[in-house]
């Protein structure tokens, strides 16, 4: 909407509302945080929408269609446009007030996914009528160009630090799909850390894509899609948390350990790997919080206890919720060892192409039917997996 559109807009406004907005009300919304759009056909304005975006919340302030043009889907087109616009601005929820008696509008909003979230008493001054507060939460998967800030090699592991364009909340256990330079598919990697626009990934160069990723240089931009999948749920009641990390499995359990410890939940973290080179000192330091008890296990005995993580599991599982991430064999063993009444969450890996549930590549197939690791996981409760790993 531009200033020269106002005469036409004001005419529609007057014909639509008992207490129409005046010229100034519109003028204010023509610049951020206001955003105003018109629906135009052959140079004629048939409708418009006005909204404000503050941080990650959108507020639809006004939406109207000229009376002769109603019931043609122009309202839904405008609304759809606003929703898309919000998505691109990284908005996570869109809100609006509507007169309780305006059934046509309410049904349009409901059709577009809005739900009634509350009521504002006597909101409209002309009639004293209540307003319904309706809200729509928008999916938060975001595609961004992330800038490489640092590539820190630590023995066989590497931490990739990238700066994002905006702050994004995440849950430990969620992952990203990240461009692997020169490769046809993105790579799934757990979110190792994500704070104030700084995304950290912990990876091990094992193949073409991960090797390309540890060879990126600072300043380079990489496409990332995040946060994907479901994270680890918090333990119920007064449970302690047992974290079982096999090798790279630490990547998703590390942020979980920190989150649990910040909540004051006691954490016992068993981390098993081939040898001591897998335990870089900077990572160990960060795990020395008082509510985290860390036990290291190596196959060659070069650090901590010698053996496999599955050989040193405790016998006592009372009041424990278990979180496990590691190679498939380890997960299978763990599920067979831990008594069935104990709640166990495992994070699984499968090859992925889209990461968002669109291609059906990442199937976890069991007697109960198929699940997608990228959408229904990667964190699953033991009951959901059933016989799928065997």
């Amino acid at each position: 909407m531009a200033e020269e559109d106002l005469p036409q807009v004001l005419a529609i406004e007057k014909a639509s509302f008992t207490t129409p907005w005046g010229r100034w009300a519109f003028l204010v919304e023509l610049k951020p945080p206001g955003y105003a759009f018109v629906y135009e056909e052959e140079g004629r304005i048939l409708g418009y929408a006005v909204m404000r975006i503050v941080e990650d919340e959108g507020h639809l302030m006004n939406l109207s269609v000229a009376p002769p043009w109603r019931k043609r889907g122009i309202g839904s087109d405008l609304l759809r446009f606003c929703i898309e616009f919000c998505l691109h601005k990284g908005v996570s929820s869109l809100w609006l007030e509507v007169r309780e008696s305006n059934e046509a509008a309410i049904s349009l909003y409901q059709k577009m996914g809005f739900a009634v979230k509350g009521r504002r008493k006597s909101y409209y001054q002309d009639t004293g009528e209540d307003a319904l507060l309706m809200g729509l939460s928008l999916p938060r998967k975001i595609l961004q160009e992330a800038k490489v800030k640092a590539v820190r090699t630590m023995g066989p592991l590497c931490i990739l630090e990238l700066s994002l364009q905006s702050e994004i909340p995440f849950e430990p256990g969620q992952f990203v799909m990240i461009e692997a330079p020169g490769r046809p598919l993105m790579r799934p990697l757990s979110i190792f850390g994500l704070e104030k626009k700084m995304l950290k990934l912990l990876l091990r160069p094992v193949g073409t894509g991960t090797r390309a990723l540890v060879e990126v240089h600072t300043g380079q931009t990489l496409r990332v899609l995040l946060p994907l999948g479901k994270g680890y749920p918090m333990p119920q009641g007064r449970q302690k948390a047992w974290l079982l990390a096999g090798g790279m499995g630490i990547a998703s359990l590390f942020p979980l350990a920190l989150k649990l410890s910040r909540k004051g939940i006691p954490v016992r973290l068993l981390w098993g790997a081939r040898n001591s080179s897998w335990f870089p000192a900077p990572l160990l330091w960060q795990l020395t919080e008082k509510s985290i008890s860390l036990e290291l296990i190596t196959e060659d005995g070069s650090m901590g206890r010698k053996g496999l993580i599955t050989e040193v599991l405790p016998k006592e599982w009372e009041n424990a919720t278990v979180y496990a991430c590691g190679p498939k064999e380890m997960m299978k063993r763990i599920l067979s060892i831990i008594p069935p009444h104990v709640k166990v969450y495992v994070s699984l890996e499968e090859r992925m192409a889209c990461g968002v549930g669109a291609c059906q590549a990442c199937v976890l197939s069991g007697r109960g039917g198929n699940k997608l690791v990228c959408r229904d996981g990667p964190v699953f409760e033991r009951e959901e997996i059933g016989d799928s790993l065997s």
């Binding site: 595609l143 669109a358 291609c359």
Partner: protein, 310 residues
């Protein structure tokens, strides 16, 4: 003036020639909020069969230097759940919906097609005669001109929706098969599906894919698809929707020059979900620079070059 990208597939008008390739865009709403749907002219669904299908065991994909293999095996929710749960959401996108249908028998194709009769906002059916990842039906049908004729002919009689026949990348027999589809009354051809292929896990001494063999897609497939589109549109009147390795606007342009009326993008979406916007902008920029105003200024222009006499 902004060039107009509107294109027509028979009587169906699309505001742009771009759409996702079946099977790479789920049931249409998976990418909502991640990418803009503005550059799309239509949505194409995953192929649907009569009953839900479990598909093949993992691994279902394998990356190659210049593309990928997949052996999804047509896992889908089945036509009933699609109509109940997926289509209503799809209809709200405000884009024409092309439903891809699949059958293990001619009968199944008909029954899936019939259940879509009168379904709201379905603009066309893409008849998947070319999936390399299923034992029955699939590419075996698309390789046989008589079968193709039969399936399209029967569907046409019973289902009042435009039919697009999606064919396998068989450059040697494509004309014959395409002609059969045209004769049966298909409104368009989608060229091409993936090429049957496989990969070997030499460490374990067995094929990589859980489905043993799979289908090749991505840039490796593009030159083959391009030649097929060129050849078919030169010889036949039927509109062609091109698919196969499109990942940049230059690729899209190549298919338009070769004679395609619309373009599908699949594999490229996985490495660059913004590919639709980039291709859209690229085509517009190119047309603007050369003073072109409609897609027709481009479509099939390469046909004007004389064939080299052998």
């Amino acid at each position: 003036m902004t060039p107009c990208l509107e294109t027509h597939i028979g009587s169906l008008r699309l505001k742009t020639p771009l759409m996702p390739a079946s099977g790479t865009f789920g049931y249409g709403d998976e990418y909502l909020g991640i990418i803009s749907y503005e550059p799309l002219g239509a949505i194409v669904t995953k192929s649907l069969s009569l009953k839900p299908k479990r598909g093949n065991p993992p691994p279902r994909i394998h990356e190659l230097p210049c593309g990928m293999l997949n052996s999804i095996g047509l896992e889908n929710v089945g036509i009933k759940r699609f109509l109940e749960e997926k289509l209503p959401r799809l209809s709200e996108l405000g884009l024409p919906v092309v439903v891809s249908i699949f059958g293990e028998s001619e009968e199944e194709f008909l029954r899936v097609g019939e259940s879509l009769k009168g379904a709201p906002s379905v603009s066309a059916l893409e008849v998947n005669l070319s999936c390399p990842n299923v034992r029955k039906g699939g590419a075996a049908f698309g390789a046989d001109p008589e079968r193709v004729f039969h399936i399209i002919d029967n569907l046409k009689e019973r289902v009042d929706l435009p039919l697009w026949a999606k064919l396998p990348p068989d450059p040697f027999h494509i004309l014959e098969i395409a002609e059969a589809a045209q004769k049966a009354g298909a409104h368009a051809l989608t060229l091409v599906n993936t090429l049957p292929a496989m990969a070997m896990d030499i460490q374990r001494g067995r094929p990589v894919l859980g489905g043993i063999t799979g289908g090749l897609s991505g840039p490796a497939l593009m030159p083959v698809a391009l030649k097929m589109v060129y050849e078919v549109t030169r010889k036949l009147k039927i509109p062609v929707v091109a698919a196969g390795g499109i990942s940049r606007w230059e690729d899209a342009m190549a298919f338009l020059l070769a004679g395609a009326s619309a373009l599908q993008i699949g594999t490229a979406l996985f490495s660059n979900p913004r590919v639709f916007s980039e291709v859209h902008e690229g085509i517009l920029r190119f047309m603007r620079e050369r003073g072109m105003t409609t897609i027709e200024d481009l479509r099939g222009k390469a046909h004007e070059v004389e064939d080299h006499p052998l």
